[in-house]
C-alpha cells in the first residue's frame, strides 16, 4: 500500500502531440481515485504512465517513496485490470491467477494460499480449473480482478474494466469493486468515461479534458460546485442546462438576479427547474419530447428566443404532454454562474 504522487507529469507523443500537459496529482494511501473524461482526454494515457506501459516525457511519478519513472511495470508493484480482461486464453483460471506470483518467485504454499483466498473472495472457486473462454463476461471480469488481488500490490489500476459488460452486470460489479476496495484498502486509480460509474465509485473524482485536469474533488462537491463549464456539462445526467445570460435577459420578464461580475452563462441542473410558478426567472416554452424514465420524466423544452433545448426533470409522471405549453421557473439559488471566455465558474 502506498500513496501515488504525480509532479509536473507530461506526455508528448511523436510528432509533438501533447497528450498530458504538466499535471500534478496526489493520491492518498488507500484512496480510490477515478479519472473521468471524454475519449481522448488523456485519462488512459495517464493510467498507463502510472503503470509503466507508457514512457514519461517530463515530471516524476512516485509510488510510495520511490520515483518509478524508469522502472518496468513489474518493478512498480502495481496490478492492472484491463478493459478486455487480457486473460491468458491457454491457461486455466488458476494458472492465470498464479502467473504473476510465479514470476516473482513466490513460494508454492504462499501462492496456493493467496489464490484460494482471492477465489473465495470473488466467488470463482468453482471455475479455477476452467479456461477463460468457458466463462461468462462477468466471471472473466472477476478472474481479471483476482489476478490483481493475489499480487497484493501497492496499487490497483483499473482501465475501464466494466465497459465490456452489460448494464445490469456493470451495476453489480461496480458495487463489488467498491466493497472490495474498501475492505482491502488498496490505493486504486480507476479510469472510466461513464460519469455514473465515476460518481458512485470515487473517493475523489478527477475530471480530465484535453490532457489537463479540470477539477479534482469529492464527487458530490463536483456536482454541487462544478469549477468549469466542462465539468458542469460532463458531470450529472441529464446534463446541466447552460444558458447565455444575454438571451435569458432578453426573454425573461421579472427580476434578473444580481450575479457576480463576469458571469455571462448561467447553469442550472434539470432537476432544480421548477415546473409551474414560483420565485426566480420565469420562462415558458413548448415541450418537444418527453422521456419517461420511470421514477422521473425528462422534458425537452424549446423556449422562444433561445437556440437550444432546455432539459427539465419532473418527479414521477410528466404533468404536460408533448407539444404542450409549459411554464417553469429557474430558482435563483440553484443558478451556477460561469464566464464564457475563461470557461470557469464565477462566484
Amino acid at each position: 500500500m502506498a500513496s501515488i504522487d504525480l509532479k509536473g507529469v507530461r506526455k508528448v507523443y511523436q510528432g509533438n502531440v501533447t497528450a498530458i500537459h504538466a499535471l500534478d496529482l496526489s493520491i492518498a494511501d488507500g484512496e480510490l481515485v477515478v479519472l473521468v473524461g471524454p475519449s481522448g482526454c488523456g485519462k488512459s494515457t495517464l493510467l498507463r504512465m502510472i503503470a509503466g506501459l507508457e514512457t514519461i516525457t517530463d515530471g516524476t511519478i512516485s509510488i510510495g517513496e520511490d520515483v518509478v519513472n524508469k522502472k518496468e511495470p513489474a518493478e512498480r508493484d502495481i496490478a492492472m485490470v484491463f478493459q478486455n480482461y487480457a486473460l491468458y486464453p491457454h491457461m486455466s483460471v488458476r494458472q492465470n491467477l498464479e502467473y504473476g506470483l510465479k514470476n516473482r518467485g513466490t513460494p508454492r504454499d504462499e501462492i496456493d494460499r493467496r489464490v484460494n483466498e482471492a477465489a473465495r473472495i470473488l466467488e470463482i472457486t468453482p471455475f479455477l480449473d476452467r479456461k477463460p473462454r468457458q466463462l461468462s463476461g462477468g466471471q472473466r471480469q472477476r478472474v481479471a480482478m483476482g489476478r490483481a488481488i493475489v499480487r497484493q500490490p501497492k496499487a490497483f489500476l483499473f482501465d475501464e474494466p466494466l465497459s465490456n459488460l452489460d448494464a445490469k452486470l456493470r451495476g453489480q460489479m461496480r458495487i463489488e469493486i467498491r466493497r472490495l476496495q474498501r475492505s482491502l484498502k488498496t490505493t486504486s486509480v480507476y479510469v472510466t468515461h461513464d460519469q455514473l460509474e465515476a460518481m458512485t465509485l470515487a473517493d475523489r473524482l478527477v475530471v480530465m479534458n484535453g490532457g489537463r485536469i479540470e477539477q479534482v474533488g469529492k464527487p458530490i462537491e463536483l456536482y454541487d460546485k462544478p469549477a468549469s463549464l466542462f465539468v458542469a456539462g460532463f458531470i450529472g445526467s441529464p446534463p446541466m442546462n447552460l444558458l447565455p445570460i444575454a438571451a435569458l435577459q432578453a426573454i425573461a420578464g421579472g427580476t434578473m438576479p444580481n450575479l457576480p461580475t463576469g458571469t455571462d452563462i448561467v447553469g442550472i441542473r434539470p432537476d432544480e427547474v421548477v415546473v409551474g410558478s414560483g420565485e426566480g426567472i420565469a420562462l415558458s416554452g413548448t415541450v418537444e419530447l418527453i422521456e419517461p424514465v420511470g421514477g422521473e420524466s425528462h422534458l425537452y423544452v424549446r423556449v422562444e428566443g433561445l437556440d437550444q433545448t432546455l432539459i427539465l426533470v419532473q418527479q414521477g409522471r410528466a404533468s404536460v404532454g408533448e407539444a404542450d405549453k409549459v411554464d417553469f421557473v429557474l430558482p435563483l439559488a440553484a443558478l451556477h454562474g460561469f464566464n464564457k471566455e475563461s470557461g470557469l465558474r464565477v462566484d
Binding site: P73, A79, Q83, Y88, N103, R147
Partner: protein
C-alpha cells in the same frame, strides 16, 4: 449462392468431377503401374486394373542395388532429414523474426519486414545460381547443411506468424509485463502456446515442401550418400541402354508419396484449425 437451380448444381458438380479426374488419374496410373510385373508396362498397353505384383515390386525397390542410385532406405532417410530440418528450421526462424517485427520497436523495423516480405518474390528457382555459388564457396556441397540451410529462410511463415501475432491484443503483452514476464518469458509462456495450432499447420505445409524438393538437392549433391528420394526416382528412370523398369519406379513413387499423404490424413484437423480459428 442462394439460388437452387438443378442445372447449376449439375454444372458445378461436373466441373468439380472433371477437376478431380484430371488430378487423380496420373496418381491412379502410378498406383496401378506399381502393381504389375515388368512386362505388363513395356508391352505398350497400359493396364487400368490392379495387378498382383505390388509386393514383389516393393521388395525389389527396397533391396535392389543399382548403379548411380543410392539404396532406397538411404534416400528416404535423407529426404526425411531434409524435410524435418527444413520444417523445424523454418518455423524456428520465422516465429522469432515475426516476434521481433511485431513486438519490438527498433530502427529499421518496417524495412526489415519489407525485406523479408520481398523475398517472397525470390524463390529458390530464381536465385538458384547465386545461392549455389554461395553454398559451394562455403564448402557445403554434399552435406545436410547445404541441402537445408538455403531453403530455411521463409517469408511465408514469417508473414503468417506476424498476422497471427497482430491479432493477439496488446493488452495480453501488457498484462504479462505487469505480471513480471520479460520478453523471453512472454514468448515462451504466452506466445508459443497460443501459436500451437499455427505451428502444427505450418509443420504440415513445410514438411511436404521439404519432402518434395527436387531441383535444389539435384544441384548440391553429387555424392549418392546425400541423394534424396525425389532425385532417386528420377535417376531410376534414366537408365542407359535399357528400358526403364516402370513397375519398380512406380512402386518407388508410391512409397515416396506415402509420408506426405499420411501426414495430411492425420494432421488434417489440426491443419484446418490452425489456418481458420484462433484461440482467443
Amino acid at each position: 449462392m442462394v439460388e437452387n437451380r438443378p442445372w447449376l448444381t449439375f454444372l458445378t458438380h461436373f466441373v468439380l468431377i472433371c477437376g478431380v479426374v484430371i488430378v487423380v488419374f496420373p496418381v491412379y496410373i502410378a498406383l496401378i503401374a506399381s502393381t504389375h510385373g515388368p512386362t505388363a508396362l513395356s508391352s505398350g498397353m497400359m493396364p487400368l486394373l490392379p495387378g498382383a505384383e505390388l509386393w514383389n515390386n516393393v521388395v525389389q525397390v527396397l533391396t535392389e542395388q543399382r548403379r548411380g542410385v543410392a539404396p532406397f532406405w538411404l534416400m528416404a532417410w535423407n529426404s526425411l532429414w531434409m524435410a524435418i530440418i527444413i520444417t523445424v528450421g523454418k518455423i524456428a526462424i520465422s516465429i522469432i523474426s515475426a516476434y521481433a517485427i511485431v513486438y519490438f520497436r527498433f530502427p529499421g523495423r518496417v524495412l526489415a519486414f519489407w525485406l523479408i516480405f520481398i523475398t517472397l518474390m525470390l524463390p529458390v528457382e530464381v536465385r538458384i545460381i547465386p545461392t549455389f555459388a554461395v553454398v559451394a564457396n562455403l564448402g557445403m556441397l554434399n552435406s545436410y547443411a547445404g541441402l537445408t540451410i538455403p531453403l530455411i529462410a521463409s517469408a511465408t511463415a514469417t508473414f503468417l506468424f506476424r498476422q497471427f501475432f497482430m491479432t493477439i491484443p496488446d493488452e495480453m503483452m501488457e498484462a504479462a509485463r505487469v505480471d513480471g514476464a520479460g520478453p523471453l518469458k512472454f514468448f515462451r509462456d504466452i506466445l508459443l502456446p497460443l501459436s500451437r495450432t499455427n505451428i502444427a499447420a505450418l509443420c504440415v505445409i513445410l514438411f511436404i515442401y521439404g519432402w518434395m524438393q527436387y531441383l535444389w538437392p539435384l544441384l548440391v549433391t553429387t555424392d549418392p550418400k546425400y541423394y534424396t528420394l525425389m532425385m532417386g526416382v528420377k535417376r531410376m528412370a534414366a537408365v542407359a541402354d535399357a528400358d526403364p523398369q516402370w513397375n519398380t519406379i512406380m512402386a518407388a513413387v508410391v512409397m515416396a508419396m506415402l509420408p506426405p499423404v499420411l501426414i495430411v490424413i492425420f494432421m488434417q484437423r489440426l491443419f484446418v484449425k490452425g489456418l481458420v480459428e484462433t484461440e482467443k
